[in-house]
Amino acid sequence: MFEVRIHGRGGQGVVTAAEMMSIAAFEENHHAQAFPNFGSERTGAPVVAYCRIDSKEIRLREPIMQPDALIIQDPTLLHQIDVFAGLKQNGFVLINSKNSFEKLGLAEMAASWAPDRLCLLPATELALKHVGRPVPNVPLLAGFAALSGMIKLESVCNAINAKFSGKVAQGNVAAATEAYELVRAHVETSRKETAHA
């Protein structure tokens, strides 16, 4: 079973991201379970959502405490709550930021983590560019697809079309495609660097 935890803030589409991830996994004939960390949802408040992906029926109903992958939709959470709690060693980490690991205070982690499993993606900027709204969830979902290889870009696009329609869907597909390419390039570069090192 592969377990993903998504951290963000109310209004950033955290719960929708987990739901879309489950739809994308379902599209590829996986079993998937998405659920929010339930609470009184308020704009700006920290929000957590989860997605499990497996080849067999998922019966487990506990929150994800030892994720295989983390998506951080809002980097201001990095030093507010322990977003890395329980993360498996060299688990996949995708953070929405246009800054560097140094600026985020993650230089130490970046130095020790497998570089093809840790990635920064300017997802808010991509969303603004393609959708016109600062909602980073879809670019991050596509970035997760590229980083983890768990789901295909095509399935992410199908999930987008299941949730949205018209211009919003089109914009999100464009944002997802660019995000996917950016992360894929990062993964390839870091694997080459690792191979040469």
């Binding site: 739901e19 489950s22 599209e27 998405a34 019966r59 487990l60 109903r61 506990e62």
Partner: protein, 417 residues
């Protein structure tokens, strides 16, 4: 058709396939997405011949349901927690009058302290109301139980609550198989009422009944629930024939063969329990589980049969009768009246506290070693409890409990972060 969707949406689709004629709704979390979905279907014309009524309260919702059901309409509503409590007077009228209303209870804790999260206190508080109560383990089962519920309700002329864990199921996206309209139509015939307010054949419904006949009317309610014990497995069989899957029934065993310890529970927590049991079985522990689907009527015979070869029973329940302990546990003990079994009650998941495999391993291991207290509160923080008890001993005006405890919890978090 297989679909990845939210539990609430799956239930809304199932209800629509049952061709309800009246849906009365008042929003309350975590039930709201179900009636919202149905409202959209009625508005879009996808659900035909159905009147969707927004009412001013839950009391009104059940009152409208009583009226429309008595007028011969297939009637549905949904609620949770305080909403269910607010409709209680009408709840008893619906069952006392024998009206086959189907209602989803998206199980949620009852306040005070106010809490929107999941446990089973709400529907269990209505265990003696005369409604049938069926508990779903997964979203697939929630969907299926609603289809079965209309058939059961209308056959017996009794109301049915389908209970599904609020948020844990209602808000979870998972795979469900949504049947076709043809399948549901073949399984569920149009509603043929036993009693109906018909101007062409007038009757009154709701007579005052004195001591001369009250016991008999009440007894017949019980008799009908005893009939339900026969009918529920039959309907599950018929459902399996039409839909090719197991859903519903009275109880469902898991790895019971040679089990020396059996965990009894209801609802979605059975999934986590099954995963825990698999891990314990891998370690060689002879443990199994028994899911109770029909809480009312309570299947004494089926429970007794399922537990006949075990040594000990751990009843894990998301409810709690203040002043005595377990509620499901008491019913299970009634089923085991003539057997000497070691009994443990574990109260878990109150107000939405996560029930983890780690904690389940701990209590189940203790139970198998017979080191578990008779009544255990899973993951209870004794430091916080004792601090409040000490405060009450030390100070006359010790203040409101919930606020004190929240401050203590906050201090605890601050010290450890």
């Amino acid at each position: 058709m297989l679909k990845q969707t939210e539990g609430s949406h799956a239930v809304a689709e199932a209800i629509a396939l049952c061709r309800p004629e009246v849906i009365c709704a008042y929003p309350i979390s975590p039930q709201t997405h179900i009636v919202e979905g149905l409202g959209e279907m009625v508005k879009a014309g996808e659900l035909e011949n159905c009147e969707f009524l927004n009412v001013e309260s839950e009391f009104a919702a059940m009152s409208v349901a009583i009226g429309s059901s008595a007028a011969g309409a297939r009637t549905y509503t949904a609620t949770a927690a305080q909403g269910l409590l607010f409709m209680v007077e009408a709840i008893y009228n619906a069952s006392g009058l024998g009206l086959p209303i189907v209602m989803t209870v998206a199980n949620r804790a009852i306040g005070a302290p106010i809490n929107i999260w999941n446990d089973h206190s709400d529907s269990i508080s209505q265990r003696d109301s005369g409604w049938i109560q069926l508990f779903a383990e997964t979203n697939q089962e929630a969907l299926d139980l609603h289809i079965q519920a209309f058939k059961l309700a209308e056959e017996l002329s009794l109301p049915v609550m389908v209970c599904m864990d609020g948020f844990i199921l209602t808000h979870a996206y998972e795979r469900v198989d949504i049947p076709t309209q043809e399948q549901v139509d073949a399984f569920l015939p149009p509603y043929e009422p036993r009693q109906v307010l018909d101007p062409n054949d007038p009757v009154s419904i709701g007579a005052m009944v004195g001591p001369e006949a009250f016991s008999e009317v009440r007894y017949l309610e019980h008799e009908k629930q005893m009939q339900a014990l026969e009918l529920i497995p039959q309907i599950a069989e018929e459902f399996k024939a039409g839909f090719q899957r197991d859903s519903g029934g009275l109880v469902r065993g898991y790895r019971l063969e040679d089990a020396e310890t059996v965990v009894v529970a209801m609802g979605s927590v059975l999934g986590t329990i099954k995963d825990t049991i698999d891990e314990m079985r891998d370690r060689g522990v002879k443990i199994g589980a028994l899911g109770v689907i029909s809480f009312r009527p309570f299947p004494l015979q089926a429970v007794r049969e399922a537990l006949k070869n075990t040594k000990r029973v751990v009843v894990l329940e998301k409810t709690f009768a203040v002043g005595i302990g377990g509620i499901l546990a008491t019913d299970v003990r009634t089923a085991m009246d003539d057997k000497r079994l070691i009994n443990y009650t574990v109260i878990a998941g109150l107000g939405g506290r996560p029930i983890t495999r780690q904690s389940l391993h701990d209590v189940f291991d203790k139970a198998t070693r017979d080191e578990l207290p008779a009544l255990t509160f899973l993951d209870l923080d004794w430091n916080i409890v004792n601090k409040q008890l000490e405060r009450e001993r030390a100070t006359r005006r010790s203040g409101p409990t919930a606020e004190n405890i929240l401050r203590d919890v906050g201090d605890h978090v601050a010290q450890h972060s």
